[in-house]
C-alpha cells in the first residue's frame, strides 16, 4: 500500500481444481465495476488437478500494467500455499485461511492471521469448495465492501443454476462476512471510488477482439498454451461475428490453411506458441513469396523445446527473425500491453494488406494470460480498414492481368479468385510478373533479380508508416532502460520508483522489430548516459538484435529467465546494483515460487 495512492494486491493460492478462478473473478469484477484499475497475474503449472496455483490481483486508482511488488492480502486455500508464501507478507498485511484445515506458520510482526472456522460457519459436508465462498465473504469486510455488492455478484453468477444455489452461496458468504466483522480488523483504508466502471480482458482476448475489429473472417489454430485463449474467444464468438474458426490437425496445416483463406481476400490469422510457430515457419516464407497477407501470432512461453508451457519468456525473437528461408518481406511487432495488443491488430492487418506480406505478432504469456482492466471507451471497435491494392471486381476491359506486375512501388494489385478475367497463378517457386516459374526450365538471373527487387521495393519506405519509439520519462536521465514488448509497464513503474529514489531514469520501449527504426534508436541511445537493456531471456536476444542493427552496445543488462515475469523491484534493485557496483549483468532472484 502506498500512502498517497491506492495500491492493493490480493493473492489467492491453492491447487489446480480448488476453484481459484471463481473468487478471483468475483473480487476482480467488484473492483472493476467500482472503476478501479486491475492487473492480474496467475502463476500456474501445467497440471489439471493438484500442484500449485498462485493468482495475484493488483488494484490501483490509476492505470497499471503489472502485478506489483507486494501482497497485502493472501487467501490460502491449502497448507502448501501458507507454507510457500506466508513469508512474503509484511506488517499490515493479512492472511485468510480455513482454520479447520490449515495451520499458519511463523508470520512477520503485524501480519493479521484471519482463520475461518469453515465447518462451524457452514455446517457443510463440502467444506473444500464452500471455503472459497466463506473467504470471499470475509474478504468483503477486510476490504470495506458493502456485503450487498457481493450478494448482487453471487446472484448474477449463480442465477443460471437456480435459486437454491444462489441462496446457498449467499448464506455461506454471509457467514464468512459476519464472522470477519466480529473477529478481524479491516484494512485501514477507505476503498476509493474510481469513477465509471471498467471492463476486463486478457491479452489473448485483446488480440482476438482486435482481430475481430479489424475484420477477421478466418481463424485457424492448433491448441497450444499460452495462445489457446485466442482460439477459445473466437470459438465462443464466431457465430455471432461471422468468423470461420477451425481447429486443424497441426500447426503446419494451420499456417497453410490461413494462406488459402487469405488468398480469397478474407482477413485471416492464427496464433500459437514457440513450438507451433516453429512448424509454421515454412508457410510464412510461402505467404511472402506468393504475396498473400496473413497474420501469425506467437505467444511466447519458456523455452527451449516444450520448455515451460505455463511460464513466460521473451526468447523467440530470433526464431521470428529467422523464420523461413530466404530474403523476404515481413513485419515483426511486439505489443507492449493488452490494449496495445488490441490496437496492434487492425494496424498490422492494414499493413499486411497494403504490403501483401505476412506479419508476425510476438507477445508472451504475461500479456496473453494476464487479465487487465480497460476503459471501454478506449477500445476502438471500428478502426480504419485499408485493404491496399485489392481487386474484387472485374474492370471488364479485357486488359491482360499480371499478378506480379513490376511497379515502381513494388506493389502489384492483387485479384482474388472469382474475379473474371484475372485468373493467375500464385507460386512459391520464384516467378516472373506473369507467374511463369523462374525455377525449373526458365531460370533467368536477370528476371530473378528484378522480381526479388520488386518485392523488396514494397517495404523500402515502410518506416514512414510506423511511429518511431521515443523516450518516456525525464530527459537527460542518468539511466535509460530499454525493453521490448510486454516489459513496458513494469519498466515504467520501476523507472518511476527509481526517480523517486533519486536515480533519474527514463525508458525507451520498443514495439516494432521489423521494420526497425535503427537510426532513430541509435541516435537516442548514443546520447543516453547509461543504457540498460531489460529482457525476459538469458542471452539478451534484443541486445544482440540492437547491436546487429545499430552497432550500439548497452552498458549493462537485466535479464530474467526463471519463467516468472519481472516485478518492479527486480528492475529497481538491478539498476541500483549496476549503478553502484558497476556490474554489467544483473539477474534478479524470484521470490514467489510457483
Amino acid at each position: 500500500m502506498s500512502s498517497t495512492q491506492f495500491d492493493f494486491a490480493l493473492s489467492i493460492g491453492g491447487e489446480a481444481g480448488q476453484g481459484i478462478a471463481t473468487p478471483g473473478d468475483i473480487v476482480a469484477r467488484l473492483f472493476a465495476r467500482r472503476g478501479l484499475h486491475l492487473s492480474t497475474y496467475n502463476a500456474y503449472q501445467s497440471i489439471v488437478r493438484g500442484g500449485h496455483i498462485f493468482l495475484t490481483i493488483r488494484v490501483t486508482d490509476r492505470e497499471v500494467g503489472n502485478h506489483g511488488d507486494d501482497i497485502d492480502l493472501l487467501l490460502a486455500l491449502n497448507q502448501d500455499t501458507m507454507d510457500r508464501h506466508l513469508n512474503l507478507l509484511k506488517a499490515g498485511a493479512a492472511v485468510l485461511y480455513n482454520s479447520d484445515a490449515i495451520t499458519p506458520g511463523q508470520a512477520a510482526n503485524g501480519v493479521q492471521l484471519c482463520g475461518l472456522p469453515v465447518n462451524e460457519l457452514t455446517g457443510s459436508q463440502r467444506a473444500g469448495l464452500t471455503q472459497n465462498t466463506v473467504a470471499v465473504g470475509a474478504m468483503m469486510h477486510l476490504l470495506g465492501f458493502d456485503f450487498s455488492l457481493l450478494q448482487e455478484s453471487l446472484t448474477q453468477q449463480f442465477s443460471r443454476k437456480g435459486d437454491e444455489v444462489v441462496t446457498q452461496n449467499v448464506t455461506v458468504a454471509r457467514a464468512g462476512y459476519d464472522y470477519a466483522v466480529k473477529n478481524f480488523k479491516p484494512f485501514p483504508f477507505t476503498l476509493p471510488e474510481g469513477g465509471k466502471p471498467l471492463a476486463m480482458w486478457s491479452g489473448n482476448e485483446a488480440l482476438a477482439i482486435g482481430g475481430a475489429a479489424a475484420g477477421l473472417k478466418f481463424y485457424a489454430a492448433y491448441p497450444m498454451s499460452p495462445s489457446t485463449g485466442v482460439l477459445h474467444w473466437y470459438a465462443a464468438n464466431a457465430r455471432n461475428l461471422g468468423i470461420m474458426v477451425r481447429q486443424v490437425e497441426d500447426e503446419i496445416g494451420v499456417a497453410n490453411m490461413v494462406i488459402g483463406a487469405a488468398h480469397t481476400g478474407v482477413r485471416s490469422m492464427c496464433a500459437t506458441s514457440g513450438g507451433g510457430f516453429a512448424l509454421m515457419t515454412e508457410a510464412i516464407g510461402a505467404a511472402a513469396m506468393m504475396e498473400i497477407p496473413v497474420v501469425y501470432i506467437d505467444v511466447m512461453r519458456g523455452g527451449p523445446s516444450t520448455g515451460l508451457p505455463t511460464k513466460t519468456e521473451q526468447a523467440d525473437l530470433w526464431q521470428a527473425l529467422g523464420a523461413s528461408q530466404g530474403d523476404f518481406e515481413r513485419f515483426i511487432v511486439t505489443p507492449t500491453d493488452a490494449l496495445d495488443a488490441f490496437n496492434t491488430m487492425p494496424e498490422i492487418f492494414n499493413l499486411t494488406d497494403r504490403y501483401q506480406c505476412p506479419a508476425m505478432v510476438l507477445t508472451d504469456l504475461y500479456i496473453s494470460e494476464g487479465r487487465f482492466s480497460v476503459d471501454p471507451d478506449t477500445i476502438d471497435l471500428h478502426p480504419k480498414i485499408d485493404r491496399g491494392a485489392l481487386i474484387t471486381t472485374s474492370s471488364g476491359n479485357g486488359a491482360p492481368y499480371n499478378r506480379y506486375k513490376i511497379t515502381d512501388s513494388g506493389i502489384s494489385p492483387r485479384a482474388v479468385p472469382g474475379v473474371e478475367g484475372h485468373m493467375h497463378i500464385v507460386a512459391t517457386d520464384e516467378h516472373d510478373e506473369d507467374s511463369m516459374l523462374l525455377s525449373d526450365e526458365f531460370t533467368n538471373p536477370i528476371k530473378r533479380r528484378a522480381m526479388l527487387e520488386k518485392r523488396a521495393r514494397k517495404i523500402a519506405h515502410v518506416l514512414d508508416d510506423i511511429a518511431a519509439p521515443a523516450l518516456e520519462g525525464p530527459a537527460g536521465a542518468d539511466v535509460t532502460l530499454v525493453g521490448w514488448g510486454s516489459t513496458k509497464p513494469v519498466i515504467a513503474e520501476a523507472a518511476a520508483a527509481l526517480n523517486a529514489a533519486g536515480v533519474k531514469t527514463n525508458q525507451l520501449a520498443i514495439k516494432w522489430i521489423v521494420p526497425f527504426h535503427a537510426d532513430e534508436i541509435d541516435q537516442i541511445l548514443r546520447s543516453a548516459k547509461k543504457v540498460i537493456i531489460v529482457e525476459n531471456n538469458y542471452s539478451g536476444q534484443f541486445a544482440r538484435y540492437l547491436r546487429s542493427e545499430t552497432g550500439f552496445k548497452a552498458a549493462a543488462h537485466i535479464r530474467k529467465y526463471d519463467g516468472e515475469p519481472f516485478m518492479p523491484h527486480h528492475i529497481v534493485e538491478g539498476v541500483q546494483a549496476i549503478v553502484k557496483d558497476g556490474i554489467e549483468r544483473y539477474v534478479p532472484t524470484q521470490e514467489i515460487i510457483v
Binding site: R33, A213, A238, M257, A261, I425, A427, T428
Partner: protein, 293 residues
C-alpha cells in the same frame, strides 16, 4: 456464373506448356481435368486449382484458373482454406503420391475426416520423380530406387482404403492412359458434395519404367464392369486390397448421406466468407463490450 458461351478444354489451357518428360502420365491427367471442368461448364474464374510441389504439382500452372503452386505437401491445407473461405469456388487439389501421402499425409487423413467439399487428384507414380527417383510411400516392397538400391523393405500405403476409413465420401482410382474414364471420375468428384479422392496411376516413364503403361494396361480392370456397388464400403475396401494381376480402377466408394463441411458449418449459412463486409456492426461491438464488463 454469367458465362453463356460453351466452354471447351482449350479454354482451360494456360499460356504455359507442360515441362513434363515426353510420355509422362501427367499429360493424360491434365487433359482429363481440363475436359472435366469444361464439360461441367465451370467458368475459369470460379475454378481454383491448388498443388504442392513435385512434377505433378506443376499441373495448376497449365490450367487457366485461379491456380496456386504452394509448398510441398500442403496443397490440401491451402486448398481447404480457399474452399472454406469461398465455397462458391470449385476447388481441385492436385499433386503426387509423395506430396499427398508422404509429407502431406496428415492433411490427407484429416481432410477426408473433415469432409471438405473439394476434389483431390493424386498423380500416383510410386516414385519421387522431381528429385530424380527415390522410393515413395506407394512404392512396392522390393522397389529398387536411388534411395533403395537393394530394394525397398517397406510396404506401401493404400490410398483408397485410407481415404475410405478416414471418412472420404467419394473415392476413385483412375488411370492416365484412360482419359475418357478419368474425365468421368473427375467430373463425379467435382459434382460430389464432400471430400473426393481420385488416385490416378500416372506412370513416370523416366524413373519408374517398370510401372509404366505396359504394366497397367494389362492389369487395370474397371469396377463398373464387375458390377461393384460404390455404396458398399465393405466391398469397396475389399476391392482396394487387390493389387496384382488385376488392379481395379473406377469408383470404389461414394455416399451422399454425410453432409460436407460447407453444409455443416453454420457460419456459412449467410454465404461465403469472401466478399463479406469487414468490421463489426454496432450491435456486435456493444455485445463484445458488455461481455467484458
Amino acid at each position: 456464373m454469367t458465362t453463356t458461351v460453351e466452354l471447351t478444354a482449350k479454354d482451360y489451357k494456360s499460356k504455359f506448356e507442360p515441362d513434363w518428360c515426353p510420355g509422362c502420365g501427367d499429360f493424360g491427367v491434365l487433359n482429363s481435368l481440363q475436359r472435366a471442368v469444361a464439360e461441367l461448364g465451370i467458368p475459369p474464374h470460379m475454378l481454383a486449382v491448388v498443388s504442392g510441389i513435385g512434377c505433378s504439382s506443376n499441373l495448376p500452372g497449365y490450367v487457366n484458373a485461379y491456380s496456386m503452386h504452394t509448398l510441398h505437401g500442403r496443397s490440401l491445407a491451402v486448398a481447404s482454406g480457399v474452399k472454406m473461405a469461398n465455397h462458391e469456388l470449385t476447388v481441385i487439389a492436385t499433386g503426387g503420391d509423395g506430396d499427398g501421402y508422404g509429407i502431406g499425409g496428415n492433411h490427407f487423413t484429416h481432410m477426408a475426416r473433415r469432409n471438405v467439399d473439394l476434389t483431390y487428384v493424386v498423380m500416383n507414380n510410386q516414385i519421387y520423380g522431381l528429385t530424380t527417383g527415390q522410393v515413395s510411400p506407394t512404392s512396392r516392397v522390393g522397389a529398387k530406387t536411388k534411395s533403395t538400391p537393394f530394394g525397398s523393405v517397406e510396404y506401401p500405403l493404400n490410398p483408397i482404403a485410407s481415404a475410405i476409413i478416414n471418412g472420404a465420401t467419394y473415392v476413385a482410382r483412375g488411370y492416365s492412359g484412360d482419359i475418357k474414364g478419368l474425365t468421368e471420375l473427375i467430373k463425379g468428384g467435382i459434382e460430389h458434395k464432400g471430400f473426393s479422392l481420385i488416385d490416378v496411376f500416372s506412370p513416370c516413364v523416366t524413373f519408374n519404367p517398370d510401372y509404366s503403361h505396359p504394366f497397367f494396361k494389362s492389369r487395370v480392370t474397371k469396377l463398373e464392369e464387375e458390377g461393384h456397388d460404390p455404396s458398399n464400403w465393405q466391398k469397396a475396401l475389399e476391392h482396394s486390397m487387390i493389387y496384382g494381376d488385376k488392379i481395379y480402377t473406377g469408383k470404389f466408394f461414394e455416399i451422399d448421406t454425410k453432409e460436407s463441411l460447407s453444409e455443416l458449418e453454420p457460419v456459412l449459412k449467410d454465404g461465403p466468407m469472401a466478399g463479406r463486409a469487414l468490421g463489426l456492426t454496432n450491435e456486435q461491438a456493444e455485445r463484445i463490450i458488455k461481455r467484458m464488463m
